[in-house]
């Protein structure tokens, strides 16, 4: 089986999208201490909105901004109306997870209601293709890689260096201590959640022109994002980026070499392998064992 270099471009493009989703998970996990399974829902909603808007004649750039904004709003609203009210009652972490899962289904059904129950596809941000070493590569693909990569790096820098990033880390380690230190915990959490939603919205808006998005693609987006997070680990803000790209290469690689019929088995095997060999993910702060 010949593997062409163009396949690597594809893997990178898909991987960047996974990475954005994983990074959204990461932001929620670090500040609000939740695995936010709804991020795939944000991405799906953003993609559906983008596709609907461009289909209705809105300029792709405007649609892009609006769709990414929708992601941010959904992220912030999740923190305000779901995570915070439950967490403030001191209930189990999995109650939050279940509530978020319910939210994912509500988002999906609402999207089906608003945008219709059929797959729709958006106009690309930029039309046109460029000839690269014997292959035609669409600008949209290159743009996806560039925008996604820049977003991941900017967020990484923000968490690593910026003031609010430092506050975020402080809250993630110990919210009570954060409060004592005079950190505006609520505001920082809200900002982190909105940025997480924004990243998911970005992932959705970038894929909207690639494939048919339908209201039920939220769950699968949530799952791949989470796998990317597990593979990368939570060690640094760049771990999700690497996890996402690795996952995509793994998917494409096994599909190319062994055929796509066994993809689900390979995913399970890969995750089991990571759990057995490096349970903390490839890049971690500390071993998360009991």
């Amino acid at each position: 089986m010949a593997i062409e270099w163009i396949d690597a471009v594809t893997a990178l493009r898909v991987g960047i999208v996974y990475a954005l989703l994983a990074l959204a998970y990461f932001l929620f996990a670090r500040t609000t201490d939740t695995i936010n399974f709804a991020v795939g829902g944000y991405a799906m909603a953003a993609a559906m909105l983008y596709a609907t808007l461009t289909g209705g004649g809105t300029s792709p750039l405007v649609a892009f901004v609006v769709a990414v904004g929708l992601g941010a709003v959904l992220g912030g609203m999740t923190e305000t109306f779901v995570i915070r009210p439950i967490a403030s009652k001191g209930r189990d972490e999995f109650v939050v997870v279940l509530a978020i899962t319910a939210l994912l289904f509500v988002i999906q059904q609402l999207a089906g209601f608003v945008f219709g129950r059929r797959a729709i596809i958006g106009e690309p941000l930029t039309a046109g293709r460029v000839e690269l070493a014997g292959y035609e590569v669409s600008f949209q693909n290159l743009l996806t890689i560039a925008v996604g990569f820049v977003a991941a790096v900017v967020v990484g820098l923000w968490i690593g260096r910026g003031r609010s990033g430092r506050m975020m880390r402080a809250i993630g380690d110990n919210e009570q201590a954060g409060l004592t230190l005079g950190i505006p915990v609520r505001r920082v959490r809200l900002i982190a959640a909105s940025v997480g939603g924004l990243l998911a919205g970005l992932a959705g808006a970038l894929t909207a022109p690639q494939a048919g998005n339908s209201f039920h693609s939220g769950v699968s987006l949530s799952i791949v994002g989470f796998i990317a997070l597990v593979i990368g680990g939570m060690g640094s803000a760049y771990a999700p980026l690497i996890g996402g790209v690795l996952l995509s290469f793994l998917e494409l690689g096994t599909s190319l070499i062994f055929g796509s019929t066994s993809r689900d088995y390979f995913l399970l095997a890969a995750v089991l392998l990571v759990f057995i060999a490096r349970p903390e993910g490839l890049f971690s702060l500390k071993v998360r064992t009991t």
Binding site: I35, F81, V82, P85, I86, K89, R91, D92, E93, F94, V95, V97, L98, A99, T101, A102, L103, F105, V106, Q109, L110, F113, I223, F226, I227, V230, T261, S262, D264, Y265, L267, L268, V271, L272, F275, I276, P279, R288, T289, T290
Partner: protein, 343 residues
Amino acid sequence: MTITVTPARTDRMEVPPRSRGRRDTTLLPAVFFLVAFVALYFGWALAESYHLDIAMTFTMFSLLALGMYTPLFLGGQIDLAYNAYLAAGAYAVAIIANRTDIPLVLAIPIGAAVAATMALVLGLVTSHLTGFHLALVTLLAGTAAYRWISSTGAGLTGGASGIGGIPRLDLLGIEFGREQLVAAGLIAVWLVAFALSRFRRSLPGLAVRLNRASTPAAEVSGIPTTSIRLVSLAMGAAIGSLGGVFVALMNQFILADSYAPEIVFLALFLPLLGGISTPWGAVIGAGLLCFLNEASAFIEGPGPLVFGGASLAILILLPGGLIGVVALGWSAARSRMRKEDKL
């Protein structure tokens, strides 16, 4: 702080009066549900042929939800492979009936054993990890199992065309037709819920619940935390497989499509809808789901939306679920009655 130490009291303490011991609170709901089930069966299920199917759907979702209740709500373990456990029960029935000479009734233990083994393996792999890792690996395992029964393993499982021709179960001279199966299903639900409500308050149940609150506390209490975690996962899986057994016996036909991972997300919310303070909450949740399914005949479309929205609202606003609402109302009414008594 200074303390004047008094001489030691006598070693043997008086035995406290019996009345101060623990009250058995498992009997009252059990009796209530027994009456409710009997009334449901004779007053409603037998009235129309399709009511039996709804009652069977209720049985299946009850067993699924009770299965999930065991590790999740007692032990805080998110196991999402329940579509596979359900399938284990159903395919045990279909394969044994069509491809072997084994007595059909053995499908029950065989399905349970397959489901429990799967849960054990997944539990072992994630035994040192946090709950989310179990959630992910079980979700992927459920998806892979679905893929296997629907395509790769289609030679054995019939794939999308399914396996038909499952005979009626004949046990001790009784032929289990539709009516008998529904009766047996309701009895099974009642027994499992009752047993779980007793388990919940027994020493192993308390051990599971303490472990959920604090693993160090459970450990220093001598609780074999790994064992009970695995036991609760296996128990839940076995209970879930029972739901598959009943559906397969009832419909006499099984299809891979019935065991897609989506069914897990439906069942996940059932105990919460009813209320997680008792296994009966799972049963109530399953009943509510069946009711909403029927109501959705009028809703025209957003049935899943109503269900998801209701789940979300209950999770955020009502930690106690529907049972919690009843309990709240009851205590409010009682305190008002007391006030009136005083006046």
